[in-house]
Chain length 109, copies 2
Amino acid sequence: MKTKAELPDCPVATTVSLIGSKWKLLILRNLLVRPWRFNELRKSLDGISQKVLTDSLRSMEEDGIITRTVYPEVPPRVEYALSDLGESMRPIIKSMETFGIDYKEQFEK
Amino acid sequence: MKTKAELPDCPVATTVSLIGSKWKLLILRNLLVRPWRFNELRKSLDGISQKVLTDSLRSMEEDGIITRTVYPEVPPRVEYALSDLGESMRPIIKSMETFGIDYKEQFEK
DNA sequence: CAGAATCCTTCCGGATACTG
DNA sequence: CAGTATCCGGAAGGATTCTG
């Protein structure tokens, strides 16, 4: 869990501390499109375990990047969506996407 | 070590596989300013071990992100610099920097 | 100076079982 | 459906020593 005191001086390091993990970045990539349900995310993230997905979502929620909405239905429905702060991460994912496309073009030919 | 066969379909996932670790992103941040020497990098990256720095630099070199130049002097001098491919990652770090600044503004007040 | 080589520890993430 | 609760192995990373 992040606290103000733990925030590194360098803004790049701060960002890394929030989304410097593989799965968080891929979750973010998904949520930038639309809100997702728990099992929906799990199926789309090939290889992720349920525990890691839960931990990642909780952590991102604590950091104010995503929101978690429980709809009191049976069976329960839980939707994960981006907060305004998470939405402001769009340029990061976009620049990663652009780079990834260029990289594959260069090395797959 | 990355091979073409291991490249994920999603360009974001591809990028994550290259620089999805804390230290690689911070090394990249430094090298975007100018070339750095080994011990210079080590001192600037608070808490990194020599082994992890070596491993990270080797991995980034293999992936074509950075170059390693040995100057045959005594004592030896080794300089790490960005390749063109690494340079093309600048927008990623820039967007992370921008986000980090906004984030700290929001939570430190 | 810029590492290579070891050894050792931590802890992240996977697997499994259970539940409101 | 969307989790919680354990248990566990392996790989990442830290500490130390040695060297061209």
